[in-house]
Symmetry: C2
Subunit: 401 residues, 2 copies
Amino acid sequence: MSILIQNVTAVTMREELPVMENAFLGIQENRISYLGTEKPQESYDEVLDGSGMVAMPGLVNAHTHTAMTLLRSYADDMNLQDWLFQKIFPFEDTLTPEMVYEGSVRGIQEMLASGTTCFHDMYFFQEETARAAEELGIRGVLCEGITDSVLEKKLQKTDALLEQVKNGSGRLKVGISPHAVYTCSEETLRACVRYAKEHQLRIHTHLAETKTEDLDCVKAHQMTPTQWMEYCGIFDVPCTAAHGVWFSDEDMEILKNHSVTVVHNPVSNLKLASGVAEIPKLKEKGINIALGTDGASSNNNLDLFEEIKLTGILHKGIQLDPTLLPAWEVLKMATVNGAKALGYENLGLLKEGYLADLILLDFAKPHLTPNHNTVSNLVYAVRGFDVAYTLVDGKIVYQKS
Amino acid sequence: MSILIQNVTAVTMREELPVMENAFLGIQENRISYLGTEKPQESYDEVLDGSGMVAMPGLVNAHTHTAMTLLRSYADDMNLQDWLFQKIFPFEDTLTPEMVYEGSVRGIQEMLASGTTCFHDMYFFQEETARAAEELGIRGVLCEGITDSVLEKKLQKTDALLEQVKNGSGRLKVGISPHAVYTCSEETLRACVRYAKEHQLRIHTHLAETKTEDLDCVKAHQMTPTQWMEYCGIFDVPCTAAHGVWFSDEDMEILKNHSVTVVHNPVSNLKLASGVAEIPKLKEKGINIALGTDGASSNNNLDLFEEIKLTGILHKGIQLDPTLLPAWEVLKMATVNGAKALGYENLGLLKEGYLADLILLDFAKPHLTPNHNTVSNLVYAVRGFDVAYTLVDGKIVYQKS
């Protein structure tokens, strides 16, 4: 199967050639085979007219709990402890594999329709999320959330998940997710590290989300959560840490030294009153920053374009500096930085040889007119529903009706 | 003309009966004539099936500069002084009436398509914005922005605008807009007050937007901008003040004593690095809070559902309290509080006898499923494109294709 997209404005996410007007983008099988302003010589099975549209790499949602779509609008505006212990945990105790499948289908449909082509999941019954992901055509990295009481069971489930994914489309990978410092003992954390090393997996965890997590960890271990994770060996494996609201300067040095990616989840951090992560400072230190929606119970949708806009405006407003995190830098977080966070080396740019995961946005709309600056409009004016086509692995997996 | 909407979930915005399931909502001419769970006896010219949809009052965008859609993505990520003096003001110097008409058409189309049925405008060539508003069917209050150098000309233009509106549909009103303390002298402010009193108009102004405005005013007048506005008589007239980021406790008392409405513009305040208005504190003092998008050059769209969500999450995150500004309170800001801010007594609720300005949202979508709580979903998950129908003055003025 081959597709040619013609007459499109291509936002490549490459520094040397950020935006190409009137471009031709060719796809052969699951790779970008051509990108240029001259019409390519080869013939294609299908031709898409991209007039009035913008093509860019598909978005990477680097931290979510997809099946938590089931809990959308189930509990809001509550204190964190009441929210967790009176509402979320009791609900989750009733979850069945079939429910997780249903929640995953809805969440993946929502992500594909709003431009996310790759997701980084942490939840229960990941075999069901894998099944939904295979059926709907998205790319992703799936991780069973691990806490002390379920360690052995979850490692066995991860064995089975590795087998399931190995026999699948090739679009899915498996990671390992010790949940957080406050739900995992040193033994659990070290067991996860051993498993990750043995199977060459990446680690996906929560880190420094709340002030309480920070204070409790210091009290228990005389170390910050970041210091404790380092001590337990978590950062000896490639690691992606979600939230990162409460880092000290010393924590940031540790993250930098171990090449840890921090996933910024601004909607969730604000809504749950966790605080505001110091993204400009992390970025200045050279730490890789990706973006995530978190789950739909703390967001309450999975439209990564909302995180893009909020990241673009929030830190300007908090630090009273309108030049912080310009549009281009934020778009990188949602694309190529996310791909890097999930361990992909050929994803997140429009570039020959890269995986053909990309989206087309319809710019022929009042709220995107005029278009003085395509990158600005992508960050500050676009919303997920402007996505007209979503392609993953060279296939059209969503088309706006 | 009469319309019956049946089988709809009605979010009335009335405290005594917030949400009615399976409701029938009847419209005769430009008023809501019936709302109940029994099918009404009367016959209607048109019947709309509201199954799977939510009806609510149309949104009120209480502070915008509609024709600034022309400057969307024209200048972003810049220092405020460079942004204003190198980009925005020089562009605005080139504006013609025809350009303002075109920009107004796009902005109004965008507002109607994202659920705004009433807008509060401040800009140049308001006769052109009025023309666009009459053609497209939106409700609004139009104000020529007044600064020292154009005072006389603008008062004459306001005379003409009053005449134009008097001969129109009845959906438009006129207000008077002294731009801000830093662009209007005491004489200009007092002239605006005299004009407002003479013509019984409301005042629409910018107030306490930036720290610089506050410091400069204190330096010039030994008063904060709020104290200075009070001194110049601005609050002797019903007044709606946009932004309000830098209020002292004493300022808040002044606003409360004069029943001034504060319009919160969180996207613009963050993007321009103005800061974060203390909305929970203003609300606690009993001050009326409405929401606005500001212009598309500092937002960069006019989707008021973005302000709704951001207002619902921002203050929780900044003050580390997830119970602040619960969903219902935020929805009130975008509807009935906005109507009050613009001087309407029969707008902003679904209630018999009220103006039939309302929207229908399509909830049969993955990102709004499940719907455990309609009000939560309206604030935290809905986006403007979920609007399926927009009605103003009893007429369908937007229908999603």
